[in-house]
Symmetry: C2
Subunit: 198 residues, 2 copies
């Protein structure tokens, strides 16, 4: 049964396919979009189609970009011999925002997950190994500290070790500024195991 | 500082202007949209621009529609002499979903709110009064049971009383302070049945 006119129904349907947007939010968004200035709707719509059409993987690090190389891979000021391996472009951005990492990245677009049937061939691992043929000093593995992230980190480190390239893993432990009492036990234990001498 | 390539940044910016979508969700949505099949992105984008371009007020009841008259106002099977006054098109849909109301609607697009500076001239009240020149038996006021909704209901009932047309208010089976769109159908029906003449 169609309660709205066809085009509103269609818009609500399309919006509710997006992740994290339920039926109610889709409805609210649809009515908002209808009431927005027409130019703004056009801008929103064309930014979607243009991004979808032009965004591709960076030829070097596989992050998403609208040019052949991403800004970091293009930059001459970065240390191209240090590669930080992350799961997603969002993780790349998270480290970029610190403003203190001057190496380059490699985006896997996922993590190995036997549970979800995601194997080493389903992430950008072959591309990473190809980069290691070049002049690389260190690979820093910065996958998430989830089961999948740890599995992936172990897998990659085993793969790289024989090449003689240094492999490291970002430390996991208590977040800076976090209250101990609010932190889960696994993290507390990991922080204890990873303690460093002062 | 731009961490993403231009087109991703632009998409994230446009998405984060939408209500209820913060920086993080905009980022997540943007990456999702980039990974969607191209046809689906095109459908989403065109459903926005088309809805925005073609949606207008129903000539009769002022709800949003892509035709001259909304489905209810077009229908010969409805009782066009009974008009239910609601605040928004979503409230219209909420009552339509009960499947048990056979009158027509009038959508005010808001409620009188001295606090927000919204007066009787800012909602579709003139249009309602014009409809009452025709053959109307009853006006059922189904504005929200919020302060604004009650104020609007009182205002409208005072306006209509002199015309001799019956005016009723949906019963307060609707919880005080609740938005119609979030209330279950049984409660909505109970409120309709228990309406009292004002």
């Amino acid at each position: 049964m169609e309660y709205y006119s066809g085009q509103i129904t269609k818009l609500i349907e399309e919006l509710s396919r997006l992740p994290g947007i339920g039926a109610k939010s889709a409805q609210r968004l649809a009515f908002h979009i209808i009431s927005m200035p027409e130019e703004q709707v056009d801008r929103l719509a064309s930014s979607m189609t243009e991004a979808r059409r032009n965004i591709r993987y960076c030829k070097e690090c596989c992050t998403l970009t609208d040019q052949e190389l991403c800004p970091v891979c293009r930059s001459a000021g970065r240390d191209h011999k240090t590669i930080m391996v992350v799961e997603t472009p969002r993780d790349y951005v998270a480290y970029e925002k610190t403003g203190r990492y001057d190496g380059v990245y490699h985006v896997l677009h996922g993590a190995i997950s036997p549970m979800l049937g995601i194997g080493p061939g389903d992430i950008k691992l072959k591309e990473l190994m190809q980069r290691l043929q070049g002049d690389v000093n260190e690979v820093i593995i910065a996958t998430n500290s989830s089961l999948e992230g740890e599995t992936t980190a172990m897998y990659i480190s085993k793969l790289i070790k024989p090449t003689g390239i240094k492999v490291s893993r970002i430390a996991s432990g208590v977040p800076v500024g976090g209250d101990l009492e609010n932190i889960d036990e696994v993290t507390l234990l990991r922080a204890l195991e990873g303690r460093i001498e002062l």
